[in-house]
């Protein structure tokens, strides 16, 4: 076991794990203590400006998305909303204290969302970065370091580091925190649950999730050619970013409505999606192509499959007679199940706790609310239009992340 960690921010260097307690105490003192502090807003605003610059936007669209999300006017609006809500309850929002973040190893800049949200909430932050950082993550760290020069409180209340996972190291970090945010799936969450937290500390957990899409086939068929092409293009983003391995990446399509229209819509969307796949240059390697062949065959033997459509190496569509619970056996990289149902609320019996995002096209709000009511709270944390499956939001995985990373003090 190593007893040191590599520090990436605010300084570069090595830090002894034994020194964490002392460091945590000074970080706590430096933290603003309440959400939406002027320092945090100004700092995030200047990071946002850098990330929205042309050269970043073209090279690292995921950084631009982050930059867009922390724009100053948008944060000011959020501040107003949370503060007025608290005022109505005769309450005041304060920070939790020190938040320990364990972002996922393989979603490059996820650590930033977790960290910056918590910073906005006024907390001190200890972030365990993944062992290897890709160019986008490294650029982000550079930008953050440069912009933080003018913000002493941000620097003094943050610590971004990497250490090899071990029970001892995780315990040393956890002992210092008031909240722990664990990203990275069931195995990681279950493992870290065995590392104790101080009595008053809370934990937010991002486990393995499952997502799907629903199309109103009548609305789809009625849409114009160009609208359908635009839809396919947006759906490409939903499906193929992160190789369909994101929590929010849809893995199944429900065709909702008339059966004949469903067939027409399916044929149309898959062929348009095929065009987008080629034009965006998405391709799978040989190993993934073989894995997809074998997966589709196994799936055919195990589930009520009507037909497998291998449209290309990049897109396999498996038509099912009825929705099946394959949540524990997913593939990715363009493996899509499809199923016809009569109305949106027919999904309700299928909904399970693991379900996160429903990407939808063409449904009214009352139909969606009906589905969510009939699901009896079993699952689904987000319902978003086509193209927005992977848009991060502070309402995520069933948490209001800002509210959760704050404490509500009742001041009567």
């Amino acid at each position: 076991m190593t007893s040191t960690a590599t520090e990436f921010f605010p300084n570069h260097g090595t830090i002894e794990l034994d020194a964490i307690a002392k460091r945590a105490a000074s970080m706590r003192r430096a933290a603003p203590g309440r959400p939406f502090g002027e320092d945090a807003l100004a700092f995030l605003g200047s990071v946002s400006g850098r990330l929205l610059a042309e050269e970043v936007r073209t090279k690292h669209p995921q950084l631009a998305a982050l930059g867009f999300w922390i724009r100053r006017p948008m944060l000011a609006q959020l501040a107003k909303r949370y503060q007025s809500r608290a005022a109505e309850d005769s309450a005041m929002l304060v920070a939790r204290g020190l938040v320990f973040h364990l972002p996922p190893a393989n979603v490059d800049i996820m650590f930033a969302y977790s960290w910056l949200l918590s910073l906005l909430a006024g907390n001190a932050n200890l972030v365990r970065l993944p062992g290897s950082l890709n160019p986008a993550a490294r650029l982000l760290l550079d930008v953050v370091a440069q912009e933080a020069v003018d913000f002493r409180a941000i620097r003094d209340s943050s610590l971004l580091l990497h250490y090899a996972h071990s029970a001892t190291a995780n315990r040393a970090m956890s002992e210092q925190c008031d909240a722990r945010a664990i990203w990275g799936g069931d195995a990681k969450v279950l493992d870290l649950r065995t590392v104790p937290l101080p009595p008053r500390a809370i934990q937010i957990e991002f486990t393995d999730r499952f997502s799907y899409a629903a199309f109103n086939v009548h609305a789809y068929v009625a849409a114009s050619e160009s609208d359908r092409s635009a839809l396919a293009s947006r759906f490409f983003n939903d499906v193929f970013w992160f190789d369909q391995m994101g929590c929010a990446s849809p893995r199944m399509v429900f065709w909702v409505g008339d059966e004949e229209e469903a067939k027409t819509a399916a044929k149309d969307l898959w062929s348009r999606l095929g065009v987008v796949i080629s034009s965006r240059g998405y391709s799978v390697d040989a190993s993934t192509a073989v894995a997809k062949l074998a997966y589709a065959d196994r799936f055919t033997l195990d589930w009520p499959v009507e037909a497998v459509h291998r449209l290309s190496n990049e897109l396999t569509v498996i038509s099912l007679a009825e929705p099946v619970d394959f949540r524990g056996h997913v593939m990715g990289a363009g493996m899509m199940m499809e199923c016809h149902i009569g109305s949106l609320c027919d999904i309700a019996p299928f909904v399970a706790p693991k379900d996160q995002t429903l990407v939808q096209f063409g449904f009214q709000r009352d139909e969606i609310e009906d589905l969510l009511t009939k699901s009896r709270g079993r699952g689904l944390d987000r319902v978003v239009p086509i193209g927005r499956a992977l848009d991060f939001h502070h309402l995520w995985d069933g948490y209001d992340l800002i509210a959760t990373l704050c404490r509500v003090v009742h001041v009567v």
């Binding site: 493992d191 073989v290 062949l293 190496n313």
Partner: protein, 363 residues
């Protein structure tokens, strides 16, 4: 279809066009045979290959099954009561073990096929046999691994078997000396897995002075471990020739999913299909047969599998086929080079491979 015709003649001899015709007829028959007898195979063809099979017009139209399917599913074309052996292999793909249901007929075909191949290489006589292994792998049938099964399968072709390893995997130089003292003056057979042959037999002959010039070595099992120490087929051959005069070396490629059907090293250090089998290289971007000399994924076809639908398998190995002209008969022949396993890709996502990470980081 009388497959016995194939084994009556020396292998690797049937002219290419004639072979393609025989094979096509046999493979089409097998596709129908398995379609009618294996529910799982029928389901695959009906649902995932566009429907009931029509006779293929060329060999590359014969539908293939990914070999990893045998690790997760029991695919068989005979009732359970007819199964004589359940062959297993430890897969390197991490998905578990292949289970291959072999009935008496298929077992008989496998034996006769392998005999025909070995006789073509070694001759009709049963030669004294040296094994680059320990007899522990064959002694306990409960521990019967692919390695043990391979050894038992080949032991039939020799006599006076000598294992050069102890049960604790120590190479016994004295056994080698003793074997050579008794049999070294006439042709003898050596069998083993490539890595074992290198690790144990070569290590012994390298240090002492041994004459293996009458030996005929057949070895298989892949080059992955040897590549990590920069030993390829040419080096392997050269070193044995230089240190102990062993020159008749035949590498071969085969898998438990098509037992008996092995591709044996011949001219140009390439592997050649026996007359009842064929190899196709598939371009993984289009799944069409790759051009001569182009790298792709190896598909193997064989007329042997009757009790399970394994007559056309997509492997997870990379290879190249080059068509050469046979130096004796001047007919074209297709030589295979196996270039190792398809590298595995990990798709990224929100879930950390956490358990693995902890273990590797702790190590």
């Amino acid at each position: 279809m009388n497959i016995a015709n194939y084994f009556a003649v020396p292998q690797f001899r049937v002219g290419s066009r004639e072979k393609q015709r025989w094979l096509l007829e046999g493979l089409n028959w097998l596709t129908q045979h398995h379609y009618q007898r294996s529910e799982a195979y029928k389901r695959l063809l009906d649902r995932a290959r566009g429907g009931a099979p029509h006779p293929a017009e060329t060999i590359d139209e014969v539908p293939f099954v990914p070999v990893s399917l045998f690790k997760t599913h029991r695919l068989q074309s005979v009732p359970d009561t007819a199964i004589r052996n359940m062959l297993t292999s430890s897969g390197t793909g991490g998905q578990g073990v292949s289970r291959i249901a072999v009935d008496a007929e298929t077992a008989d075909l496998q034996n006769r096929a392998l005999a025909a191949i070995v006789k073509t290489v070694v001759g009709n006589e049963r030669l004294p046999m040296l094994l680059a292994d320990t007899n522990a792998v064959i002694r306990n049938p409960a521990l019967m691994t692919a390695r043990g099964a391979g050894i038992v399968g080949f032991m039939r072709f020799g006599r006076g078997h000598t294992f050069i390893l102890d049960e604790d995997m120590t190479a016994r130089e004295d056994r080698l000396r003793d074997f050579l003292g008794r049999h070294g003056g006439r042709p003898f057979l050596i069998f083993g897995f490539t890595f074992m042959v290198w690790q144990y037999l070569y290590e012994v002959v390298r240090k002492g002075s041994f004459d293996l010039s009458n030996g005929i070595l057949m070895h298989s099992g892949g080059w992955k471990k040897l590549e990590s120490i920069s030993v390829d087929n040419s080096t392997f051959r050269q070193r044995f020739a230089d240190t102990c005069g062993l020159k008749r070396i035949y590498n071969f490629y085969g898998m438990v999913e098509q037992l008996g059907s092995i591709f044996v090293e011949g001219e140009g250090e390439r592997l050649y299909a026996p007359d009842f089998a064929e190899v196709i290289i598939r371009d993984p971007a289009t799944w069409q047969p790759a051009k001569d000399g182009d790298l792709g994924i190896i598909q193997v076809l064989s007329l042997l599998p009757r009790s399970y639908p394994g007559h056309s398998l997509l492997t997870e190995d990379l290879g190249v086929v080059t068509t050469l002209t046979d130096s004796v008969s001047e007919t074209p022949k297709r030589g295979l080079r196996v270039l190792g396993r398809l590298p595995r890709t990990e798709l990224r996502g929100c879930s950390d491979t956490f358990a693995v990470q902890i273990r590797s980081e702790a190590a």
